[in-house]
Amino acid sequence: MGKNRREKSFRWILVLVLVSAFQVLSFSRFFIKASSFNLELFYVFSAFMGLEWLYLIFHRLISRRKDFQLEIIAFFLSGIGLVVCASFNNDFALKQALAIGLGLLTHIGVLLISKNTDIAMFLRVPAAVASLGLLAFNLLVAKTKYGTLNWIEIAGFSVQPSELVKVAFVFVGAVTLQKIQSTKSLTKYLIFSVTCIGALFLMKDFGTALIFFFTFVVIAFMRSGDVRSIFLVSTGAALGGGMVLYFKPYVVRRFATYRHIWENMDTGGYQQTRVLIYMASGGLFGLGIGEGKLRNVYAASTDLVFGLVCEEFGLLLGLFILTAYGLIALYALIAANRAASTFYSMAAVCAASMILFQVSLNVFGITDLLPLTGVTLPFISRGGTSMISSWGLLALIRAVGLFGNSATHPANKRLEGEGQ
């Protein structure tokens, strides 16, 4: 009942028009000032907006759903990332638009897999094996890029396997733990988690390791109530602590400048101080796209993109973006609460937690409220794998709204049969 009313009151087409208007406005900036018409950028923006409208209209026609909050938020965020890329150069914009397309394909793929829990059940082992394989492959051919080993190069594109593993991590966790399992399968999942986090530590990707660990704790919490789950958490915590100690010099260096960035303005606090200086310079309404100075700082379009958006688009938009991430998590919570199936609610809650935790690490890391860990901002940071994983995780949240409540679903029947 409540759901139907909400669906009616949510005028998705109106919101989409508003978001599109915002996008046209920010895109048009590239054509007003340019001396010669930038045809390439025009195609990129048109393709993006076409994709946005076509996807939502098709989705509406096929599924007859009217709640497209999540998709519109994701398109809104992706569009901002695309503008940022375009403000650097055409190449960035083109690659980013391709990444959004790939992200959307991943999104659809994950939705299709999630639709049938039997298929999901079946895929959990291959997904886990593939994840571990990817990480192992990463470790073998890793290129040290800016202190971390989490990049590999495939056909001229740099790929971060750990980003792709994120989706699999939540997926495998939700499938494995959807109902009371044997100790054996729990142990398997524990081993899987520990291996993933361990591999990330070996890559020195402390930020992503932290995100995985946090998600692992959420999964464990969702399952807790029995001794084994608590055991899961404490093992995980001990492991995390042990790892931190093992890599102490590296971690300690990371933390050394935390809350002391102004004393280390040209060393460890370089990025954070520039972010704060230029965020403040931007004021509430920003200095205009391309008018900022943070863009000259390393990683401005990736890790520091939130600072760049605040400087050029203004703090108000920055806060609006953060609220949008909050809304994604809120959607997950509300939909999960209504869901009959444990798999869907678990997947949604974990995926949402992962996204929001990563946003926190990114935004509060570059503004020195948390230690800087060098993670990307979902949907907005420039980068293909980050975009793919963001849309993939979004599908896990979307699935609970689409399929989580279906009474005819085999998985739900089984759950009901077990009683509570």
Binding site: I277, M279, A280, S281, L319, A336, V359, S360, F364, L369
Partner: protein, 458 residues
Amino acid sequence: MNYTTRRAYVVLALIGGFFAGMIIMTFSLFKNGGHWASNRVNAHLYSGGQIVNAGSVFTADGEELAKSFNGKRVYSKDRTLRLSSLHVLGDPVGFIASGTHSLYREELFGYSFVNGIYTLKEYGKGNDVYLTINSKANKAAYNALNGRKGAVGVYNFKTGEIICAVSNPAYDLNNKPKDMKVEEGDTYEGVYLNRLFSGLYTPGSIFKTVTAACAIENTPALSSWTFTCTGEYQVGQGLVKCPKKHGKMDFEKALNNSCNCAFAQLAIDLGKEKLDLQAQSLGFGQAIKIDKTLSEKSILNLDRANGFDLAWAASGQYTTLVNPAHMMILMGAIANGGQAVSPYFVEKIVTPNKIVIYRATKAIENSVNIKPETANELAKLFRSNVINEYGDSSFPKLQMCGKTGTAEVQKGKAPHAWFVGFSQRDDLPYAIVVVVENAGSAISNAVPVANRVMQALK
């Protein structure tokens, strides 16, 4: 609802933490944004270490003290004006912490929380700052100090505008001496300090203002009180001395003569608690707001004082130290019937498109409290000081009231010369403080400085 979905509320906790972070981040930008944005590595504002284009600083009478030109800071062509206004203007780097350049750095860059540094980007220039300082008064004060260390301050006790603020030693911003030595005894001792706002000096007899206020409020039948000065006054094992035998006097005459012996007896009769309380209510021990900065606290500590110490404290010796600006405000309160007005030196801030974004308003200074009757009585006594002791000829046509002080400091060094006071002319509602370090007698060293500055304002 099953147990797993109930546990989904863990997301709510995460959202809560996330929003708390957003609020902290926004608040911290609101609080520190100006400080951050004006950082020297901000490429919007600085180019090659130089300020790109900050706003100008003007005096009340329209002199441009500083402006930005071709990416450099340019100062007034008048050397005396540069020297006399150094401290109130401040240096471009920020050594002089209480100067306009430091205190109004964000405004000069055109920063605001709402617009960031958009003003500077849009107009190529920050905001202009208009001071309350009168260039003639400042120059007169600087010239009158004639190279001696010290401070001069004048403010309108009805509105709070600081008309004159001079601190010496000063250096020329156009020609900053290399390797300035700023330690005690050096030529440039404490040159980065505005002595008016941040200096602390032994007050000598100007402290009799406090003792007199205490006597007026606490000594019964003060009008019939008399004292006979023999040139010295025995307290315990010690002797309080006067420069000469003043003979028999009433209270007014004792203040006119600045008789140390008479004030010693008054203080002993009052007791140190009452004197201490009086001093606290007159603003001792408190940092007083001056524009965007704070004065140094004046200090009276009688905790360990014996009778002899108290007897000397009554005349501003012992361990007592006062801040010149505080004395100026105290004079303002006496002149203004007991109400102390908070002093400021920035009148208004104007954007490049001529919008006034800040205008100073009158504010009452609550840390300096004096009863109206006491203030009026002191004003009468201070007028009597000028008429009977210093002479109206020292302050032609000014209707001055005041008190001098010749504060003994280290042995072998000349005393500090003080004058504190105010004019009773309706068109000159100004309170003044003059302190000249190691200058000698107040009458011949501080009074002429005060007169020259006040004449410049006539």
